[in-house]
């Protein structure tokens, strides 16, 4: 069966994910070492240790994301994160930075290493480089590839691949985008945040809900229309005579119907995005996806009904997995 890797922003979400059928849960420390460094989110050292024993007792794994790029002169913070995750019994750490991978491979030779999507390893050469240089065992593929390209990659590599199946969607190659820091000073790579809430201002103007990020207008939404979070790349902008979502519509990824194709393409694990979402959301998505991967493993059709409920009323896309997306 494909492994289901599920998000946990809090210990309660971790327990909810495990109970809903997650094979593995990924989470991070409450600091700048991980790419969801949001207010009120993530784990203390004690919470991680408790979370890991809770998951292990129920046969689930815990993967710890330490996937920002360490700040020059402050690498020790990130090194400590890896050491603490290893000590707490994490099943793997998810890393993106070359220097950090080199450190982990040398200082923690027994620790399983996953390559974060933030490393944007988009072809077999990149993946084989990380595998041979650092002994990386699994690669989370960037969301720029089609299913056919993923299949081709798997034919040329020996390590496992994990792909995003559901949730928020980056339109840019992950880990290679500084749109957020251009406007707010805070970026996914350096601070673990994109379009941070601290720089968001909502205001009502002439019946519209206007959202601004760092002073730049990202959306103007008429009353009663859905109000997307002002993520930079999903904003509404103007170029010459054209106005619209120039980079991406405010949609989220749903690759549930592609699970059989992804399995055939040799993908080992499916990742659900959303460490910033509630335990209610996590439980619902995980339950539906667990049923789907079980159906796939048994050669049965996808249980469409369960998954349709999750995207109803909200636009979903198959993203780059379908070539037309480009």
């Amino acid at each position: 069966m494909m492994e289901l890797v599920c998000p946990a922003g809090t210990p309660a979400a971790l327990r909810a994910a495990v109970e809903a059928g997650a094979h593995a849960v990924y989470c991070g420390f409450a600091d700048e070492t991980n790419a969801r460094n949001f207010p009120g989110l993530n784990f203390s050292r004690e919470e991680l240790a408790e979370g890991i024993s809770h998951a292990h007792a129920r046969g689930a794994k815990v993967l710890v994301a330490i996937n920002t790029f360490p700040r020059a002169g402050a690498e020790a913070i990130w090194h400590r994160g890896i050491a603490d995750a290893a000590r707490a019994g994490a099943d793997a750490v998810i890393l993106a930075d070359l220097g950090l991978l080199a450190h982990a491979a040398e200082a923690h030779p027994d620790l399983r290493l996953h390559l974060s999507v933030q490393a944007a390893a988009a072809n077999p050469d990149a993946i084989n480089l990380y595998a041979s240089a650092f002994g990386v065992r699994r690669v989370v593929l960037p969301r720029v590839l089609t299913v056919d390209e993923i299949a081709a990659i798997n034919r040329e590599i020996d390590v496992e691949t994990e792909v995003f199946a559901f949730g928020g969607l980056c339109v840019m190659a992950e880990g290679r985008c500084s749109l957020s820091s251009y406007v707010t000073g805070q970026s996914p790579n350096m601070n673990g945040v994109c379009s941070p809430a601290s720089h968001v201002v909502y205001s009502e103007e002439g019946g519209d809900l206007v959202s601004r990020l760092g002073g730049f207008t990202i959306h103007r939404t008429p009353k009663a229309a859905p109000a997307p979070y002002p993520t930079l790349c999903k904003g509404c902008f103007t170029s010459d005579e054209q106005t619209g979502h120039i980079f991406e519509d405010p949609v989220s990824l749903d690759a549930s119907h592609l699970i059989p194709q992804l399995a055939r393409a040799g993908v080992s694990a499916l990742k659900i995005e959303g460490r910033q979402r509630s335990r209610a959301y996590v439980a619902q998505v995980v339950r539906a996806f667990r049923a789907a991967v079980e159906a796939e493993a048994a050669g049965q059709p996808m249980p469409a009904s369960a998954l349709a409920r999750l995207t109803e009323g909200q636009a979903a896309t198959a993203g780059a997995y379908a070539k037309t997306w480009r």
């Binding site: 309660a12 207010p39 909502y202």
Partner: protein, 178 residues
């Protein structure tokens, strides 16, 4: 995830509670808040510096608003329209707040669907949302607990109210129960 149809407070009920004096309500809410803070110490830790912020909770179908300062475990009921300084304001039907509080709905989904609107310090709201979600709160259990020997009676009354109104008055994941 779709926000399921949220029930609005029946108008009759809203009218019925309009004349309630707010001071005793504030006292009662304060007692519940203190109790919750005591039994969920990780909630304040999770809030960090945001714990000291003033959150104005505006249940739009009720005749009053609540000013909450988590670090002081203080909740004050105020008439709507009464001017009060605050760092962030959350507005929406009572049912949306209760559904979020009890893990029945996802805060982001409620926001995307415009059931909840936020103004002011967005970071503080996010922190509050995450801290509450992690605390696995159960308002019915807290109210019943605060009610001492009337606990069972209160619980039963809340159960009946939940059935009649469709409001989420207890923890809605697999661990909450009446």
């Amino acid at each position: 995830m779709p926000a399921a149809e949220l029930p609005t407070m029946p108008r009759a009920l809203a009218l019925a509670i309009r004349p309630l004096p707010l001071l005793p309500l504030s006292v009662a809410l304060g007692a519940v808040a203190r109790r919750m803070t005591r039994s969920h110490p990780s909630m304040l830790k999770r809030l960090g510096d945001h714990g000291g912020k003033r959150f104005l909770i505006d249940p739009t179908d009720l005749p009053f608003v609540l000013l909450m300062v988590p670090a002081r475990a203080s909740v004050t009921a105020l008439r709507r329209g009464e001017r009060t300084a605050h760092d962030a304001r959350l507005a929406g039907p009572l049912s949306a707040f209760l559904a979020m509080l009890h893990g029945a709905e996802d805060g982001d989904a409620l926001f995307f669907s415009r059931d909840l609107t936020i103004e002011g310090d967005t970071s503080a709201v996010l922190a509050l949302r995450n801290a509450i979600d992690d605390a696995e709160l159960d308002l019915s259990a807290e109210l019943a607990g605060a009610g001492g020997r009337f606990g069972t009676l209160i619980r039963r009354a809340l159960e009946r109210t939940e059935r009649a109104t469709g409001l989420a008055l207890h923890r809605m994941d697999d661990h909450g129960e009446f």
